[in-house]
Symmetry: C2
Subunit: 148 residues, 2 copies
Amino acid sequence: MVIRKPPAAMLADSPDEVEAEFYEALREGDLERLMAVWADDDAVVCVHPGGPRTIGAQAVRESFEAIFANGAIAVTPEQVHRLHGDSSALHHLAERITVRTAEGPRSAWVLATNAYVKTPQGWRMVVHHASPGTLQEPEAVERPSTLH
Amino acid sequence: MVIRKPPAAMLADSPDEVEAEFYEALREGDLERLMAVWADDDAVVCVHPGGPRTIGAQAVRESFEAIFANGAIAVTPEQVHRLHGDSSALHHLAERITVRTAEGPRSAWVLATNAYVKTPQGWRMVVHHASPGTLQEPEAVERPSTLH
């Protein structure tokens, strides 16, 4: 087994900055850049669409390594819904993924929950949970509360 | 449209207590008890297996009301993985759901991310993201880090 160096430090000032870096790393297929986004912790959790859950930074790294073996991912976050606290943040969003088909490029969408925590090294990703994709653009059911 | 009373207050001392109450309410098919678990906030998010995302306590209530119209849910949380902060908590788990089939009861599993925040009213649920179910018990890919 190859023991790797810890990922390069990334000092992110906000959850949005970490998230932008996460999707940029996916689009670049850059594993080191991607892992620098994650908290280097055995407790982080990642679920790829339709996949098992991977727990711990090392297992997450291996899962993305396997994905990148097939190339980068043409993914853009859309419809980002944010719940921010002082030291933790939850983003819920739709990932638009461009897939090549015999009929040309098509868009697929994946619903994802991303969680971030503020660490001494800045904001880091701790959870990425992505549901299996659909070919329809997801609609959010949103209803302003009548209660307050 | 019927304007409902806010859900009864629930003073939960811990994320685990909220989570236990959430699954108990699902097993009971008790909408009021279920909604008392959620933060009464327009920012909460819920994704049912294979469903759209519902945003806001009122939309979440309506989604569970539609589900309970078909009865309660025989669900048990398993393999709970916790990331706890001072005022927020993330749980990732497998929900075992017993479904009736022509061949008798069978188990299905759903991967879920649940998020909780500490509010002045105690701990409340703010995110429930459930992926579509499988008939295989999910295995977690977990690898202790070699890095520290």
